[in-house]
Symmetry: D2
Subunit: 254 residues, 4 copies
């Protein structure tokens, strides 16, 4: 595929150093390994290599959703892919799903859901802090997912406007305050999923879910272990993320 | 939503006991808590309760993809949701993705991918054992996902027919034998993901990936921990699944 | 070393099948692989093999503390070696230590401590259930550790008789009720360690420790992972013990 | 207990800031919270508080083995308490044990064993790098454990001088080269334990052990998880040590 002006590409030096660059005529891009003339890239194909003025080769690669997501996550560190994808599994999110989500935060989870429910689904995302909503809108816009998202500047503990939705997904400080409202918003058989860093939040949420008559109530935690794989030197990495949060899920039964 | 003849529903007694039942006129369904007349359900709404002849109440719930998946997984125990969803994340699978997969096995991973790439994507799934392909076809059919899947009775280590695909996903004994072929099949920037139970398979696959010039090579393992959550008695469950497999991923760069 | 009448030995068939046997003249010992005449063993050396009447070879091995401990643990499953040894580390237990312990239970932790504090240390172990104390006394007797242990049929939450002890070690349902008493019993700089299965017990104990002015308060959990190691098939075991308990420790400062 | 000249004490400000100080007449000790006159401490009792010239209170506490060990470990980070104590459990090390150990390194494992085998046991510790042996000797000396340790400047893969020992414990790069020698050195029923960071070392060692006829061959890994315990905010710590090493053990049978 030919690269043209206006495209965003990934300039790749190595696994630790790569940059997202917008191709603009007459512009240059500066790296610690030298300067690239962007004009040199126009008309080439993805997978090509270009030279910096320090004679270092960079690969030109196409961008995908994960490139963007990993950059947003690196900055915010709020929620990790392992949790994002398991939350969406437990919520049975797929093309066409109608989902209520809170809080929007920087929009990582929102974008993840939006990317999965295309083209016929919808995410209604609640947030009370306007500055976060703005960041999220920008992130979702950049990912080209805006038309699948409706942003709401509202306190979800005060009520959910939607009815008969497929899933309610929460990543917020007080999920237990939303359980009753989530039940009203969900269709029968619909799925509720909440992500919380402390075990005390989990206890309160599970109690509220039991009280509200949810079924299939489960709490799990995912621990990710990275490996250094090298012939005759294979071992798990020394430092790891020890905890992100617990995922609690259940289902509306009546 | 009104329940009609021919629908498949979930009869729910409790979290340990629930049954998938097809509603047929004049038929009965037997449980250890008594017999249900299916005629009694026709015309009712999801969320209703019906009585067995032993006066036990059962909830009637709609089925979704996860209900089916969990039943298939319980029987085969080959690959778990935590791995399914992380594999699909690493492979950047979403609506519209074109994916090559092997081996088909009982079709769990195939169905998971097919459910995510709807309506415009496609899964090409390779398998050499005809009896497995048959089981998988039946499972995929039941899930209503057949039109997104092309089944191939071929040895993927001998070659991949497709070109310019978004992702190659492997759950097979000798993934390292597919690395070179996967590179040819993938588009530039496309993603390769392999799931293996032993660390030796991982070592061989990573070596082959390095040799083939893949970038962003990573190996991780996901450990899932279930919790018993109860006010004042919260703790992880005593017995857990200690290991399923390692997930190795990378990206075609040239 | 020559084996003589009255010795207890280990008859070893394989890792899954071995038996502790007391050598008595004229007696036989029955296994599913045949019968052994114990007279045949007398006068032989450890490491020898004897034949059953079904011509199966058994190794004759000396017993050590761990052989006994593993058998007691297999029956009671209350506390695991990983926790036993870390508890004793955190409590700084070594030859000469004076230790208060509760509850005695079946004596597994008691025996472990007694084995480490020999020959000049002492364990004072509290238990309120007489039937458990009896079992523990029998276990400790068999291990030859009785002279290092003083058994007390007392409720430790009502008070600790000892003063100026090196460590207080708890494996009981309500450790937080012992924190104040433990402080009085400990010497300045002495160490307090508590083992609890639920996180709620941990919260209450830590709160009580903070209130009582303990320093270096820490809570950890040890997860043990067993591996199947085989050339080219190495992997963690599929089923594992997911949780035993949390270990909370601290130190008396004033 | 009265503090006198020449004693080493712990000056404790908080859990993050404490210092080991030797009490010398006329001397002062400087901290970021002010200066302490050591004369003020002489004649006081442990548990007392003294003021710096900035009017900050410090607790004066007695030192124990763990205070020293934690300081050595913080500097070297070679082997962690969770592993130290489990290694010694698997090796059945207790008062009176005769143990061969390699490599000495900075002496952390040596000191741990020496502390447990007192007063009648002995550790024979092998090391080929003289500079490490010097560091270890100094550490062991400071801990007052020298008389339980014999330092050997020898390559253990070339042979073990001792015979009929209770345990052989290895923390070195090539444990598989010692397996045959360890078997000769061990008494019948004696225990072999090896600690290795990579899974490849484990594979080689286990193969060598099988070949040499060891029984009860096991490989485990201990994962330690630290918790932040606070009423209503309890959770595992975010960053954790993901891997230290694998512990392989077995027993000489003949």
């Amino acid at each position: 595929m030919e690269i043209k002006e206006g495209d965003e590409v990934l300039l790749y030096l190595n696994d630790k150093n790569s940059w997202i660059v917008k191709i603009e005529k007459g512009k240059t891009f500066h790296t610690h390994k030298g300067v690239v003339k962007l004009d040199d890239i126009i008309g080439k194909s993805y997978g090509c290599e270009i030279q910096t003025n320090m004679a270092v080769s960079l690969k030109v690669l196409p961008l995908d959703y994960i490139d963007f997501l990993e950059r947003i996550i690196r900055k915010t560190q709020i929620i990790y892919p392992k949790d994002l994808c398991y939350i969406c599994f437990q919520a049975n999110i797929h093309p066409g799903s109608i989902v209520v989500e809170a809080g929007t935060g920087s929009g990582v989870l929102t974008s993840y859901i939006a990317n999965l429910i295309r083209p016929d689904g919808k995410v209604y995302t609640y947030e009370i802090r306007e500055e976060f909503q703005k960041i999220a809108k920008k992130n979702i816009e950049r990912l080209g997912l805006s038309k699948y998202v409706e942003f709401k500047l509202k306190d979800i503990t005060k009520g959910i406007d939607e009815r008969n939705v497929d899933a309610v997904v929460l990543d917020m400080a007080t999920p237990w305050l939303v359980v009753e409202e989530a039940k009203k918003a969900l269709k029968i058989g619909g799925r509720f999923v909440s992500f919380s860093p402390t075990i005390n939040q989990v206890e309160k949420t599970v109690e509220a879910m039991k009280l509200a008559g949810f079924i299939n109530i489960k709490t799990i935690e995912l621990i990710i272990r990275r490996y250094k794989v090298k012939l005759n030197e294979t071992r798990p990495e020394t430092i790891m993320i020890g905890h992100t949060g617990y995922i609690t899920s259940g289902r509306r039964a009546s």
